[in-house]
């Protein structure tokens, strides 16, 4: 029951944060240069039609009223219409969100698959040549921007060896998995370097913890100590780390989608920025922030379930 109370409180905090996020985005969008009415009307603009358009868009009301409407619209998922594409923003989200979720989900999964075993190899023999090699590779990938990792993979695996498509997405779920593999790997490589570095450190701490000494002194086999005493604690820090890095994962997805021409929310955001399509930018940024918040809540849940101390 404690668990539910804790998560309920966290949910409240997150909702409050999202409202503030909305305020920030709303404020930023009011600062956008150019009059959206002018942009919508283009060459046909007359003073009368501009005034009419201002009224239609609600721009002639007070800022407070506008913000309140923005909030209500966000909650009710009425994100307005795209200026350039003339479709509701929510339908763009409906098309793009599954792709972005699949991409980031695959990336997180691959990153764990890469980082966790390597962190163990590294931390079990600190100072060995394996440790040195793993840390060197991690250091190099830490210094590689996501778009560059993507391009290198594209050049070698797609353009060179023709193992993967150069971009876009497939037709149906399983083809999507195939099309999204390279972009997910791109994101995963960049994320796993961060995970690996921190996980190695926390594993080293756990391995030197007194409870590992006590477990050894009780005569437990090494394998049992690792799987029961070390791994359990390592999961807590892995999940925490993953949560801390969700922002950079989503940021990376924006870039990766651009590099691989994937029609997800990230590329849509960039395209809309260049098109000055501010309802879309506003709506998408909100959706991305909510996505991050949901992950925060998930991480909190897993933490409470994994670490009994949290539920106190």
């Amino acid at each position: 029951m404690y668990v539910l109370a804790i998560l309920g409180r966290r949910l409240g905090q997150i909702v409050a944060t999202v409202v503030l996020v909305a305020l920030l985005i709303f404020g930023l969008m009011r600062l956008l240069p150019g009059d959206p009415a002018l942009m919508l009307l283009g060459d046909r603009a007359t003073d009368a039609s501009i005034a009419q358009m201002h009224h239609d868009l609600g721009l002639d009301r007070s800022v407070a009223v506008q913000f309140w409407e923005f909030l209500v619209h966000t909650v009710t998922l009425q994100l307005g219409d795209s200026i350039t594409m003339r479709v509701p923003v929510i339908s763009l989200v409906r098309d793009g969100l599954p792709i972005t979720l699949l991409l980031t989900g695959m990336a997180a999964f691959l990153a764990l698959l890469i980082a966790v075993p390597l962190a163990f190899v590294s931390a079990l023999r600190p100072g060995s040549w394996m440790d040195a090699a793993i840390r060197t590779v991690a250091q190099i990938s830490l210094s590689m921007p996501v778009f560059y990792i993507g391009l290198v993979l594209l050049i070698v695996l797609a353009a060179g060896l023709h193992w993967f498509p150069v971009g876009g997405i497939g037709n149906g779920f399983f083809q999507d998995l195939y099309y999204l593999f390279l972009p997910a790997l791109t994101l995963a490589l960049s994320l796993s370097a961060v995970l690996l570095r921190n996980l190695r450190q926390s594993l080293l701490e756990v391995l030197n913890a007194e409870y590992v000494n006590f477990a050894t002194a009780k005569g437990l086999p090494r394998r049992m100590i690792l799987t029961r005493h070390v791994l359990r604690n390592a999961w807590v820090s892995t999940v925490t780390l993953l949560g801390l890095n969700i922002g950079s994962l989503v940021g990376g997805a924006v870039i990766t989608e651009t590099v691989f021409a994937i029609p997800g929310l990230g590329r849509l955001t960039i395209d809309s920025i260049f098109a000055r399509d501010y309802p879309v930018v506003q709506g998408l940024t909100m959706v991305l922030a909510i996505m991050v918040s949901v992950v925060f809540l998930l991480v909190d849940t897993v933490q409470v379930l994994l670490d009994p101390r949290m539920s106190k």
Binding site: L32, S143, I155, I255, I270, I273
Partner: protein
């Protein structure tokens, strides 16, 4: 006590990571300051007799679609990217450190407001926020500095706040209060010098991060604008020639990796030196 004194008296070589990082950065700095003496060709001269040449001895990094030498363009671009490392971090580091130390010491409602701001800003992915701000201000290096500075100081402030909080609970800070010193004196004369080490280390890491961010924005077309040669822009130039002229994108990227590694190593080395000094 005796152990630390003995360690200080002995001459210790700085950690190899510090030396390695410094060496890499010195090379890049030379490229940035005097590219004309280092680059074999002009970075801007078109040479239509050697378009899209693969790497050869004459052009180790190959040439681009206008016949420009990519090695020379990469060298000339160093100055822009090193500038990014400095200009994108200078204000955040200084302002964030000051704000963080005051917040950590004063606490109360300013601190509560600050924690709310942090909550909000970690909810919007850093890159997305910077991109949106750049979109509002318009693409370009100057606006990118403003966008990054507007967000990035929070990270320094948070780091510094935590450090100061930890230091303020120690006895010497209490001793300062007992002595009747004012908060300004306690913060800036006593707490800040003791808490600033992690911030210095993070600054180095952050320079690497900002080069990555700057080149990403350059790649997207929101950062440095062509014809300014910036590593990310150079890579973007090569994207359309990915299948035919891979060298156009690959080589400028190596410069980014090099710069990132240089700053990270410097940060790591600094960290282990500070640990040893304690």
């Amino acid at each position: 006590m005796s152990a630390t004194i003995a360690a200080r008296r002995r001459f210790v070589l700085p950690p190899w990571s510090l030396l390695g990082g410094a060496a890499i950065l010195l090379v890049l700095l030379a490229c940035a300051v005097v590219p004309e003496y280092i680059a074999p060709y002009s970075p801007t001269n078109f040479d239509f007799r050697s378009l899209l040449q693969p790497p050869t001895l004459a052009h180790p990094f190959g040439t681009d679609n206008f016949g420009r030498d990519i090695l020379s363009r990469t060298i000339w671009a160093s100055s822009v990217d090193l500038q990014i490392a400095i200009f994108a971090t200078l204000f955040p580091a200084i302002f964030g450190t000051l704000v963080g130390s005051v917040l950590g010491y004063v606490g109360g409602w300013p601190d509560a407001i600050f924690r709310r701001i942090v909550d909000v800003l970690i909810t919007i992915p850093f890159l997305v926020l910077v991109i949106v701000i750049v979109a509002v201000l318009g693409p370009g290096l100057g606006n990118m500095y403003i966008a990054v500075s507007a967000v990035n100081w929070i990270i320094y402030a948070r780091l510094m706040r935590g450090e100061v909080l930890a230091q303020a609970s120690r006895d010497y800070a209490a001793a300062g209060r007992v002595m009747g010193y004012g908060p300004i004196r306690i913060i800036f004369r006593h707490l800040l010098p003791n808490a600033v080490a992690p911030v210095l280390v993070y600054w180095m890491t952050d320079m690497a991060l900002e080069i990555l961010l700057g080149s990403s924005l350059g790649y997207l077309g929101l950062g440095a604008q062509p014809p300014t040669a910036e590593w990310g822009v150079l890579i973007a130039d090569g994207k359309n020639f990915m299948t035919t002229a891979w060298w156009m994108s690959i080589f400028p990227g190596i410069a980014i990796v090099l710069a990132g590694t240089g700053f990270s190593l410097l940060g790591d080395g600094l960290a282990s030196m500070l640990r040893r000094g304690r």
